[in-house]
Amino acid sequence: MSDSLTRRGTAADAVAPRRPAPPRDRKHRTARIRSTRRRTTLVAFAMLAPALVVLVAMRVVPLFSAIGLSFQHVSLATGETTFDGLANYLYLFTDGNFYSMLVVTLVFNLILNPVIVVLSTALALLLVQHVPFVGVWRSMIFVPAAVPGAVVALIWSTALQPDGLVNGILQSVGLPAQPFLTSANQAAFSIGIMVTWGALGYWMIFIIAGLKDIPASLYEAASIDGAGWWRRLFAITLPLLKRPMAFVLIACTVGSFLLFAPVQILTKGGPNGSTNLIMYDIYNRSYLLGDIGVGQAEVVVLLVILSLIVALQFRMMKEDD
């Protein structure tokens, strides 16, 4: 703020005559500056107001409403809410289904997100090379990122049918047809495939941007020193890609925890709870079972898990720097 005063002062000096102003005049000028400053502040907040209002109403209010409702009992019959203390949380944490859902969600994420980061980095390394038609190849890989998540689910549910594309290809190379979404062992894997397909090209963009920020002089120096491709990859590229890769890991993890459309459209959490990811479980409890309070407690659990993951990953990033 002191910085803003001096800046404004210099701007005014530039138009004002160069000699020192008499004391009365200076007092006058500070008053004028103060009133312009107040006007600027007012105008600025008027310009910010619509954005701040929607952000508060659409993000902050529901956040606190979820926290509030998680301590309430919501009557199904009347919609009346009564304070219920920790009852919703106690209910969740003594519910065996809640734990199996947590395990399914965590295992799914622990496998899926690293796979996406590694694959999108590999793709970025390949597609940052100057090869013929590289723009075309890049666009072809990016295109699935434009497909809406619900449509990704519909496309893959068709492709994974017993007589769909994937089984057609498997059988044409002599492999047996697979049940995919209808098998408790393969359903989560199938959802992982469709998510990866829809996400790779998107995250690849961030890694390519990171690769382009690496100064070419580093590579030149390394090749003069006789470093081969692998050596350059591990000594220069990957260490300098840490930031974009960490960003992708964080953003991708948050996205995968929020995965909903494929589960709701294709498996409804089954077979046997094998795809019962947290977002679907929340939806199921709040809407299909009508247990709003418990649903909101689970929203709070999800938000806590997400904050912990983001904080942890940020911290690992800082330590590495």
Binding site: S4, A11, T40, T41, F45, M47, L48, P50, A51, L52, V54, L55, A57, M58, R59, V60, P62, L63, S65, A66, L69, L126, Q129, V131, M140, I141, F142, V143, A146, V147, P148, G149, A150, V151, L154, I155, T158, A159, D163, L165, G168, W197, I205, A209, Y219, E220, S223, P244, I250, L258, F260, Q264, I282, S286, Y287, G295, Q296, V299, L302, V310
Partner: protein, 278 residues
Amino acid sequence: MRRSRAATVLLTTAAALVAVSVFLPLWWVFASSLRPGNTYVENMTPLSWLAFIPIGGDFTNYAALGSGAFLLGLFNSFLVAGLTIVLGLAIAIPAAYALATMRFPGRGLVFSFIIVVAMIPFDAIAIPLSSLFQQWRLSDSYAGLILPALANGFAIFVMRQFFMGIPQELIEAAEVDGLGRFRTLWSIVLPLSKPALIGAGMMLFLSQWQAYLWPLLIGTSPERQLAPIVLANLSTQFTVDLGQILAGSFVLSIIPMILLLFFQKQYTESLSTTGLKG
């Protein structure tokens, strides 16, 4: 860096192979959507080249979609996404401009607030918000579908970063010339900001076009349903016409693809802007 010819051939082959296999399912969706009804399965076992080359296909599935609820859903999706772009930009631009060019107490705080709020994942709070929307009598309305997407902190962030790159002297000169703050924004700054406007517009559009959970929660009656919901409902009917599902999937995918084809540069630049802060 110099590379041997063999290496170039190898890299190109690898890039082409990966690209084709990632793209293949989408191409298959298009080819199969041209086979009437469920007849596309005839080319699946054994897999025939006709599965990928739609010779002898027709537009039966598209015609069937065009006469059903899907067309109305598509219209609603366009309406909602279009209004989201216009209103979203109308909200984000002044906010970003104030943050980028004006000096006032609390600016840093407001900016941090916007960034922190933008990081709240919307889908996680969509379920509590939908209960609130019922109380606010906003469910089953276009306003209910549009409002949450207008709170897009990343659009503000992208615009602000771009505005900060515009030389301050240019803005001051325009204001000294008596152009006033809003005229300067409208006739000097915005024409210079097309890349950021397109990038932020694309973000707003895609956030709405890709939405599924929110339009599902807001519980709209059939005449206000968005296309993905219509298509997903169609897929859970007792007798599913998968050809129609594939045709609908193709329509919903090709629209953002065409936009990205034109605006890929601006969109990816905006994306990497938001990634920089990570």
